[in-house]
């Protein structure tokens, strides 16, 4: 699959763009909810989409409610930039209506007695008035302005809810599984809107989800939650390559995420050539993005094969020179071994049987050729 994206910026490179007061979120909270103890500490970079990922009951939504101010932590600090939203030691608690955080809830939560326009302008700040038309166009909801929420489809309602939150000029946009309950096509459509949003509007987004496919498509950063604790957080593509997290990221269907630039198109064979940053080339089925566009590719681990040298006459179209960086066992699987390859600056994962592994004599540090089936780049 390929998705449009800006190259994700790591936290240390975070900059505030366009003079807005974009700044990251720092959080360190304890909260007891019955038998469940949420004990989280994390930072959300000032740019890009940060996903809170975890099984249901891992504390994603509880964390989001704490950030939004709909719940109070027992202990802890929540800050945006230098501005404290909660500081239990200092007795600071900014109520939700003064936090300037946009929240998009799972069920849209539109006000049934207001038309779409009324919903959109309910929390609109004066500064956002000039952007009303842009936001409405971006979300494709201008034909809906005079309708009542009861007459909207699920996807339309979510889009209105997103617009309503954006028009409050939030410092941070919180989205709680905004695609739940939508069918496949609607889901893809809304996902595209959100991805475009993350790119066009310079607001950090915290995105709660338990769906790996959604996160691969839009997340830059990942916060992995398990039973109320933060297991890991960092750049999505880096976390995805960590062996120790495989168990928790199993749903991600073991894959690597690689970014590449569109080089040129071959319309005759309906193929597109991509260039990796180290100059190596990849071929994928034709996409309609112009040369120069950066794409994010997901390469399932099972679609990568290894060879010691470039084979001749083989249908694997993509052959990348790589270096074996790390070798690890696959949890709960006695047959296979997982190998992390370095391709330029990027990481590619491959899995092979222990038998092939021994026959090939794979060792850390050796040069190897990664064979990737073109279809692995299916854009869906």
């Amino acid at each position: 699959m390929a998705e449009h994206t800006d190259a994700p910026l790591p936290a240390s490179h975070a900059v505030s763009g366009h003079g807005t007061d974009a700044s990251g979120l720092t959080l360190e909270v304890d909260k007891r909810l019955g038998d469940f103890l949420l004990k989280a500490s994390l930072t959300v970079p000032a740019r890009g989409v940060t996903a809170l990922f975890g099984a249901s009951g891992s504390g994603k939504t509880s964390l989001l409610r704490l950030i939004a101010g709909l719940d109070t932590p027992d202990k802890g600090v929540i800050r945006i930039g230098e501005h404290s939203l909660v500081d239990t030691r200092q007795g600071v608690f900014v109520p939700p209506h003064r936090r300037r955080l946009g929240v998009v809830f799972q069920e849209a939560r539109l006000f049934p007695h207001y038309r779409v326009r009324g919903n959109l302008t309910y929390g609109m700040r004066p500064g956002a008035r000039s952007r009303f038309d842009d936001i409405v166009d971006l979300l494709g909801i201008s034909p809906l302005l005079n309708r009542f929420p009861a007459t909207l489809s699920g996807g339309e309602a979510r889009r209105v809810a997103i617009g309503r939150a954006l028009l409050t000029e939030p410092r941070l946009l919180l989205m709680d599984e905004p695609l739940t309950g939508l069918d496949g096509a609607r889901k893809q459509e809304l996902l595209r809107y959100i991805a475009r949003l993350a790119r066009d509007i310079d607001i950090p987004i915290v995105y709660v989800s338990h769906d790996p496919d959604e996160l691969i498509a839009i997340a830059d950063h990942l916060v992995l939650l398990d039973q109320g604790r933060v297991l890991a957080h960092g750049r999505l593509d880096e976390l995805l390559t960590r062996f120790d997290l495989t168990e928790y990221l199993g749903g991600f269907d073991a894959a690597s995420v690689i970014t590449a630039t569109v080089a040129d198109h071959d319309h005759h064979y309906a193929l597109t050539q991509l260039r990796l940053e180290d100059g190596q080339r990849l071929t994928i089925p034709l996409v309609d993005d112009p040369p120069g566009t950066t794409l994010r590719l997901r390469i399932p681990i099972r679609d990568v094969a290894l060879a010691l040298s470039k084979p001749e006459q083989v249908s694997y179209r993509n052959q990348l020179s790589a270096r074996v960086e790390q070798i690890g066992l696959v949890a709960g699987n006695k047959t296979s071994i997982e190998v992390r390859l370095r391709v330029g600056e990027q990481i590619l994962r491959a899995r092979l049987t222990r038998k092939s592994f021994d026959e090939l004599g794979v060792k850390e540090g050796i040069s190897i050729v990664a064979l990737i089936r073109s279809v692995a780049f299916d854009t869906r």
Partner: protein, 231 residues
């Protein structure tokens, strides 16, 4: 068509019931909101006290009003001295009696409709920058409107039909506190007024039916609007 005495009784009734509803509306909504949205010590007790007028004989309520708000009563003396307000044997007193009798009905209906309002919508409004008051007036009350209307009409009808507390506290003074039920009672007590009593009875039924129809119509309109249909 109607005699002067009949007109008088109708007008006094409307005035008394209207005033009764007017003075209990805000405290009734406030209390209903408190009961619907908050847990506190003594809530069950307060709930019981609230419902007392429904189960007590109305004469008892009238008697208690007389004791507390009468000229010699603790509150009554204070009202008389500081504000020159006298309630017993006045139509205002009848409105107080009617209001108290109608109060539980109003609170009950409003509370039920407030409980039915989705607090998630209120939470959403707060994340959009609305403070507590704005949420109350733009989300909570509009969404509770059908119940609010029903409660108001119920309370109005209850105040209109109030008899026992009224006659005890405000007496049965023609042109002052003789509401429709009191006028009807007076006619029944007088020999040879059966026809006049029947006429008043019909009028009472008519007014009650009319208020029910109006309330149903308003509530239906409000519900339609809330369900988000045009028109």
């Amino acid at each position: 068509m109607l005699s002067d005495a009949e007109w008088e009784a109708i007008l006094i009734s409307l005035q008394v019931a209207g005033t009764a509803v007017a003075w209990i509306l805000v405290p009734g909504i406030a209390l209903a909101w408190l009961m619907a949205r908050h847990e506190f010590r003594g809530k069950a007790l307060l709930d019981g006290v609230l419902h007392l007028p429904l189960v007590l004989p109305p004469v008892v309520v009238g008697y208690l009003l007389l004791v507390s708000l009468g000229r010699q009563g603790l509150l009554g003396r204070w009202l008389d001295q500081w504000f020159g307000i006298t309630l017993p044997f006045t139509w205002q007193g009848a409105a107080v009696a009617g209001g108290i009798m109608a109060f539980p009905l109003l609170v009950r209906a409003v509370r039920l409709s407030l409980e039915a309002v989705d607090v998630k919508l209120e939470a959403a409004a707060s994340t959009l920058g609305a403070n507590r008051w704005r949420i109350l007036f733009t989300i909570t009350l509009p969404l509770a409107l059908p119940g609010l209307l029903t409660g108001t009409v119920l309370a109005f009808a209850r105040a209109l039909s109030e008899f026992g507390a009224t006659i005890t506290f405000a007496s049965n003074i023609p042109g002052e506190t003789r509401t429709l039920p009191l006028a009807l009672y007076t006619l029944i007590q007088s020999p040879g007024k059966e026809a006049a009593a029947a006429r008043l009875c019909a009028i009472a039924i008519l007014i009650a039916m009319l208020s029910l129809l109006v309330s149903e119509w308003l509530a239906r309109k409000a519900r339609k609007r809330l369900r988000g249909r045009d028109g």
